[in-house]
């Protein structure tokens, strides 16, 4: 996904260069390449971090989905795309937590968990616009110049990004994070300053309007961030919901939405069709459901699968995974109807779908329904004779 999205041009760059000298940092209304040594250094270090993330093996590639996100970002950036300068890129990470972040040169990091928790394009657009705004406003660089006096105000997107990267790269990367007086580390643990977060909120709404998205949907989008769950050792909830700052942010967003609506030029956008969004991110819905099942987040997984099945109703794997959400929650029963119904749905779409045949057999076996278990196992072996567990299933058959 290397579609380059240029921003603005030379005259603004010259203005920006002049402003650098006085350390008054203009927004990337605008950018081009950085000219100050410290910003170049910032970009290089961040780039090294991104490269390591990309090489960690957890980046999710899907051309269809990438094209969808790029098209949405292009709608937000509007005409500025025609002016050459810098590009916006995306890195999608297979990770069930809700997180997004902006590298200082315009690459936006997104967890699949965030994509699937949003209920429509406008909600996702709200988060995306917020991150693009951090980039356009050069907030990382501004924070670096401001030192750490403001960046400790609250916690935010940065921490989750770093937590995720720590998981993916195996270490909390202080070598990259520790830029110019612990800047990135501060961002990582404390988020951007309150002022910069509010600026990103405000500009994010502008970008949403430019993309024709209803700005009211920013509220449920940010509220969803407060529902981040605990996965593994980290506790993302501490970053969002238990901190008053998220509440402040939502309060501020409500204020900004009201203000935007009072403008004469305001045009209320229609609610986007949810299914269009689900179609755009379908591969993430299915993949993230698998992650959630492995993390025992069965309700979350089922919600994602329901969204997926709205737009891809014939996929046997999705039906099978719905069955897994029920079975794994109660593998010994006593209720097997829900999982068995889902396995049967999978088989209605593909009668040779081996995982569903096996699990149907396994659940019948637990229920001591020998004939039904035998039937399912025999079909499983017919379609997966060379499966790693074929010998074990044959042994089960001998006892039925």
């Amino acid at each position: 996904m290397k579609k380059r999205m240029p921003l603005l041009g030379l005259s603004l760059l010259l203005a920006a260069t002049a402003a650098y000298a006085a350390k008054v940092v203009p927004a990337y209304e605008s950018p081009s390449l950085p000219v100050e040594a410290d910003e170049i250094d910032l970009w290089e270090r961040a780039s090294s971090h991104e490269n390591r993330l990309r090489n960690a093996g957890t980046v999710f590639h899907d051309r269809h989905m990438e094209a969808y996100i790029e098209a949405l970002a292009a709608r937000m950036l509007g005409d500025s795309i025609d002016h050459l300068g810098i590009e916006i890129d995306f890195v999608l990470v297979r990770e069930p937590t809700l997180s997004a972040w902006a590298y200082p040169y315009g690459t936006i990091g997104l967890h699949t968990g965030l994509l699937v928790r949003m209920d429509n394009e406008a909600q996702f657009g709200a988060i995306l616009a917020h991150e693009i705004s951090h980039f356009l406003q050069r907030h990382t660089y501004r924070e670096m110049l401001d030192g750490d006096k403001q960046s400790k105000v609250g916690k935010g997107l940065g921490f989750l990004a770093s937590l995720a990267m720590a998981k993916e790269t195996g270490t909390f990367d202080k070598g990259v994070m520790d830029i110019a007086g612990n800047l990135w580390e501060n961002l990582a643990t404390s988020g951007y300053s309150k002022k910069n977060e509010y600026v990103a909120d405000e500009e994010g709404l502008e970008l949403m309007m430019r993309a024709g998205l209803p700005i009211d949907e920013a509220i449920p989008a940010f509220e969803a961030l407060g529902e981040n769950e605990v996965y593994g050792a980290g506790d993302p909830r501490k970053m969002w919901s238990s901190h008053p700052r998220l509440e402040d942010r939502i309060k501020n967003l409500r204020k900004e939405i009201k203000r935007a609506k009072r403008k004469k030029t305001f045009v209320d956008a229609d609610m986007p069709v949810a299914q269009d969004y689900f179609r755009g991110i379908a591969p993430a819905l299915l993949m993230n459901a698998r992650l959630d099942i492995n993390e025992r987040k069965f309700r979350r997984a089922r919600e994602a699968l329901e969204k997926y099945l709205m737009v891809v109703p014939d996929d046997p794997e999705a039906h099978y995974l719905v069955g897994e959400t029920y079975r794994r929650a109660n593998p010994l029963g006593p209720e097997f109807e829900s999982c068995q119904a889902a396995y049967r749905s999978a088989l209605e779409h593909d009668s040779a779908f081996a995982p569903a045949l096996k699990e149907l057999g396994m659940t019948y076996r637990v229920q001591r329904q020998g004939a039904a278990a035998r039937d399912a196992f025999e079909q499983y072996l017919e379609h997966a004779a060379n499966a790693a567990d074929a010998g074990i299933i044959r042994a089960y058959l001998e006892t039925l």
Partner: protein, 231 residues
Amino acid sequence: MNRLGSILVLLCLAVSGSAAAASKDDAYLVNKRDFKKTYKVVALAPVDADPYLEMPDSVAAMLEQEVTARLQKRGYTVIPSSVLAGIRKTMEGQVGGLQHPETGEVDLAKQQAVREHAFRELWFQQQFDALATIRVTVHAVPMESDRVEWDGTKQKLTYEGRGKKYSAKVAVSSVSVAIFDSANKPLYLYYGGLEPLMYRKQEQLEPLTADRFFLDEKRIRKAAQIAVSPI
């Protein structure tokens, strides 16, 4: 990867992965009273250790002995790990062995299949309420003036040669005991500190070789006792 490299990787992982329970109250991941009321029969899985540690079977036996003794003392019925080990062995035969016949390499798909089916078969065959796993893990802890304190234990690093006392992060091992219900939901997790995996060589921290692990039976037993002390 050489041993030092392994230690460094383990240290790095530990920065984000170390998860020792801070107090005995934290050991229960569900209500403690409900736990004691609901779970009466506990099956044990074979003791497992980070491969880096090259744990001898005799150490695994010691650890299981200590955990079993504590559980029984607290009124739990214990199904020994030999039951699950027996199921695994049978299943390994059913899949034609885990090793590839020509290369001798472990077939990971078969290994995973045996592991998963064996757990499910244990639940199918035996009447029990919870499954306990005992594992020796590696993580990093801060060292202050050559002394380390972690997971309920305190120790001083051994050293060769002279050198000033200093502070750093060192790799250590701990015994973890985790208990799960039939849906693999974690119910209990607690750690007991076992031993440092590094020593001081003048001004440097050096990894110990595997033949210097698990030499102190008292420490091994104590680590297991700490790990089950909240029970």
